[in-house]
Every structure is written in C-alpha cells, then in structure tokens.
Amino acid sequence: MKKLPSLFFGILVLFGSAWIGVVAYSYNNLSVLEPLPDEETGGTLPPTLPGLAVIGEKVYAANGCVECHSQQVRLAPLTTDIAKELGKRQTVARDYLRRTTAFPGSNRTGQDLSNYGARNDDANAIHKKLYAPRSVVPWSTMPSYSYLYEVRKIQGQPSNESVVGLTGAAAPKPGYEVVPTQKAKALAAYLLSLNQSYALPEAPPPPAQ
C-alpha cells in the first residue's frame, strides 16, 4: 500500500461493487416495474390514486410521520406481521408503484399503516384522531396535528366539511367549528389510500395456519 493510485483503484472497485449490486440493480430492475391489469375491475394493480392522496404524501413527509409509522408488512413466517393482522400478504416493491416516495419506515412507535385504508374508511374519524388523538384513544402517544385545522366561528350554517363528534377538551366552543385545511384533507386522503388488499402474483397470501 505505497501508492495513491492503487489505493484509489481498490476503493473504487469495492465501493463500486455495492454501487452496482444495490443501487444500479435496484434502478434497473425495480424502477421499471409496471402496473398489472386488474381483471375484475378492468383497472390496474396497484390501483391509481386520487389526486388529493398524491398531494397528501407531501404532508405525510413534511410532518415526519415516517419516524413512528412503518408501511411494510414483512414476510411470513419469518415475521409475525401477518399474524398481527397488519395485512393479508407481504408488501412487495410493486406496492409502492403509485407513490412518489416509498416510506417503508424503521420504527413502530405507532401502528403500521400499510393497510390503514383497509381498516378505516371514514375521513371524519381520521380528522378527529389527527386533531385530538387522545380524545379518541386515551393512551395514544401521537401528537396533535391541530395546526392542520382551522377553528373558526360558524357563519350561518356549519360547514359540511367540519370535523364532527369532537368531545371533551377537543370540542370547539359553542358557535365555533373545526374545519380541516387543504393539507389535512390531503393527508386524510393519503391515509385512506394506504391499502394493499389487492392480490399481486409475486406476493401470494400465505396458507392459513
């Protein structure tokens, strides 16, 4: 190890091996994945997303939700993710196809969200939870995202978008209402769109135990 060029070349080869193996391989093989035709509905798998859900992904990223929420159901039987009912099948690369950014996550201080939309279909319930988490689940450790909501005086009729059913300290004063901003609506649409309950050939559901 006497000369700079041989050191440089050695580092280049070793580092380049992982660059080709991990980065270039992923780039060549995973970024070219295509949606599959869905024979039942005539659509595609994974299904296309509503525009609001695409915007909501930015809100999800902006508030660092990924720090506590994963979005991956891992392989069974190696892991118990499916037994814990996080999803009916493993998450595969193609599941992220409709997303701009994949958020597999690395911590589950909060619940896994891969199939959040399959468990919840009520936007108002999501707004209640985002606005005042502990008014819905007393032991929740999620912080409030009340800054995504506007508390305003009811002018004439209450808005048909206002969050209903807020109780306790979270309830607005009489004559006031809590209305989701555009960001909150987009985030709720994104959360509702998290749903991997379609079948993909590369991820068959594991046989029942």
Binding site: M1, L4, L7, G10, I11, L14, F15, S17, W19, G21, V22, V23, Y25, S26, Y27, N29, L30, S31, L33, Y60, A61, A62, N63, G64, C65, V66, E67, C68, S70, Q72, R74, L78, T79, T80, D81, A83, K84, T91, V92, A93, D95, Y96, L97, R99, T101, A102, G105, S106, N107, R108, T109, R134, W139, S140, T141, P143, S144, Y145, S146, Y147
Partner: protein
Amino acid sequence: MSAFPSISANTLSTADRARIDASTRGPVLLFFGSALFWLVFGLALETLASVQLILPWFLEGISFLTYGRITQAATTIFAYGFATPAAIGAGIWLASRLCRVELDHHKLLVSAGIVWNLGLLIGASGILSGDSTSLPLLCLPGYSTPILLLSYLLVAIWALLTFFRRGDSPLFVAEWFLFAGLLAFPWLFAAANTLLVWNPVNAPAQPAIAYWFAGGFVNLWLAPMGAAAAFYIIPKASGQPVASHHLDLLGFWTLMLFGSWTAGASLIGGPVPAWIQSAGVAASVMMLVPAFAIGVNLHLTLSGHYATVGWSPALRFLATGIGCLFAYWVLNAINSLPAVNAVTHFSDIGRALTVLAFYGFFAMAASGAIYYIVPRLTGHEWPCHGGVAWHYWLAAVGVGLIVIDLLTGGLIQAYALTNPIVEFRSALDFIWPFRFMSAVGFILLFLSAANFALLFAGILLDTRKNAAPAYLAVREADSTEPVAV
C-alpha cells in the same frame, strides 16, 4: 514492534509541525466551532423529542415543534451540522500533517465552511417549516443539498491538491482511511440526492437506495474518518507505533468491502429482492472482521500504556469512541441475523444502535480529535481540566443510559410488537420507563455538549491563560509531542 512504524514521528521537526498546524488554523477552527454550535442545538432538539416520546402532549400542536419534524431536524443537524463538519475539520488537519504540506488556499476552505453552514441553516429551517423529504438521513430538502455539495466540492478539490503534493513516502494507515472517507462521502451524498430527492426514481426502487446511503453514511464516511483520527492521534499521543500492519490492511479493506454492502439488512423481510437482503445480512455479520481488526489493533497499540488514557483527554475520548464503534458493529451484526431482526426491527433497538454509532462512536471520537488538534492551532491549552472531565463523564453516562435502556426496553417492546396475542398498547406501556431514562440520558448528553462548547469558546478566547495542559490525571507516560494534551 512493527515493521511499519508510525511515520513522521521522528522525521518532522517541531518547527515544521507548528508551521503546518498554523497554516490550517482558520478553516479547521471554523469547521470545529460551527460543528459544536450545531451539536448543542441538535441535542437540544433531540432532548425535546425524547421528552415528547414520554409526554406526547408536550408542546404538541405547534407545527415546527411537532415530534416528527424535530426528530428529523435533530438527526440531520447531527449528521450534517456536527458530524460532517467535524470530520472535514479533522480531515483537513490530518491531511496536512500526514502529507506534510502546509495548507494553501485556506481562504477557499474558509469559504467552503461558510457556504456549508449557510446550506445547513437553510436545510434545517426547511425541515422544521415542513419541507422534509422524510428519507433516512436524507431529510434535507432538495434546495439545500446543492449548497452542501458545492461546499464539499471546494473541500475535495483542496484535499486532492494536498494529496498530490505529498512526497514519495509510503501511505500511513490513517491516510488510507482519510482518503477513503473523503472519496466515499461525495459519491454517497450526490448519488443518493440525485436518485431520491432531485430527480426521484420510481418509488419501488427507493428503499434499497435509501438504505445504501444510510448504511454508507456510517460505515464509509463516519467510520473511516473516526478511524483516521484514531490511527493518527492514538499512536502520537501514547508514543506507541500502530501494533500491526497486517491488521491495518485487514481492517481497512474489509471495512471498504462489507461496509458498502449492508443496506439489505435494514429491509429484512421487506420490499426488496431477497438476494439484496441476504447480501446485507452477510455483509453486516462480516463487519465483525473490520470491527475486530480495528478494535484489536488499537487495543494492542495501547496495551500496556492504558495509563495514557487516564490523563490524556484526546486518548480517553478516542478510545471510548472506538470502543463504541466496536460495540456498534458487533450489536449490529447480531441485530442483522434474520431470526433476531424479525423480532427487533421497528423497536427502539434501532434507535439505541443509532445513538451508539452517532453519539457513542462519532461524537466521542471527534471530541478526542478536537481536544488534540485545537491547542496545536491556538497555541495555548484547554482552559480547565475539570470542564474536560465533566464533558467526558456526562457524555459517557448519557450515552450509556440511552443505549442500555433502549436496548433492554427495546427487547421487551419488540416482544410485544411481534407476539400476536399481545395488544399494541402494551408495547407502548412496556417501553415507557425505558424511554423516560433515555430522556434523562439525552439531557446529560445535551449538558456535556454545552460544556464542550463553553470549553471551546474558552480556548479560543484564552480566558484562563492556562499554561499547563488540561490533563485528566497525573501524567505518567511520555508522548512524542511535548506540547498540549
């Protein structure tokens, strides 16, 4: 002891050394000073986040103080505000010393330091105000990273110039690590930002690339830079040559090979091809080889001379840092075994390992380097040895509390998260007391960083006019350099 003695110990006169040191003063002090400012600020955010984990209502509902944003800002500030500038600062000084050339164009480097800090200020504000990308270790918004890359380019050009101006002497092991780190960082950072932030590839390909970056940031950037400092300063300050040239070779090349392949171990059972996962597991387990080669080599170097670790702050911090790096690689190897990872992944064990690598290894090693380098630049000693001792013990106890609590608590949490008959709520209940203790640990870490920043301000301003070096105990052995610690 070795056929490959520590070079430059006997061949460079004290006057030459002082001239080289003086030429690096401006940029190195700028990088170190800004690094310490960001360390304190980042740890303040980290402490706040750790309190929010146990008291979720604490400062909630304020957009720029919400948990997700401050924890990402804190990690980013540690990685790009403290770790990278500290590594660059130490790298500049080490390169000048090792290549035995006085620093030219230091205005270029001072500009680079200013540009870097501006870029980070913009990026960190961006994260807090809601522009985070939420990618692991790459949260900086796309408009701030070109500024950082531009700044790094100025440093890299200068580093290349220095390496080309060096004489014909054989490359010392610290130079290999230094050269590798300086080469790896721009490759990792530019490639990951290009593929994930500026012009994102389709989402299915992103996780593998993201963890290639996150693994590389620790194994190919922080680890080589920390090792470079250790392999230069430990022999210098203890007066012992590096024990084994063969272990040097083994440690360095296995780190380069396995360190770059660990990505798949962060996605076991996840949405990446199975062979990438297997390769990641194999590489993470094989990291035991560089862990032992580097750890044993430095241990053998200090063996019989551990008294020096007692009195020299630089040695004590560096030895602790390398010990933590060894522990990190060993624990990470265990945590990468698929059967273990299936249970522990997504628990706080991951956070414990990150703290061990960042605050246990890198912050300690960089502090050691700063303790060694700065008195040689300012020409006077650290203001008080009591402050140094406080810094060490607060940091050591803080890291210890966090790592031990999150590891044990994480095991219980992991059990609750994976056992199908245990409710999700139980995982939160089980981890709570351990997170409480880790919040205490972060407060101690914050105090240690604040203490260090005050010491740094003290040595710059030369408040105490300390003539004697700030030894932590009575000095027993001799160092090759008479001045400073």
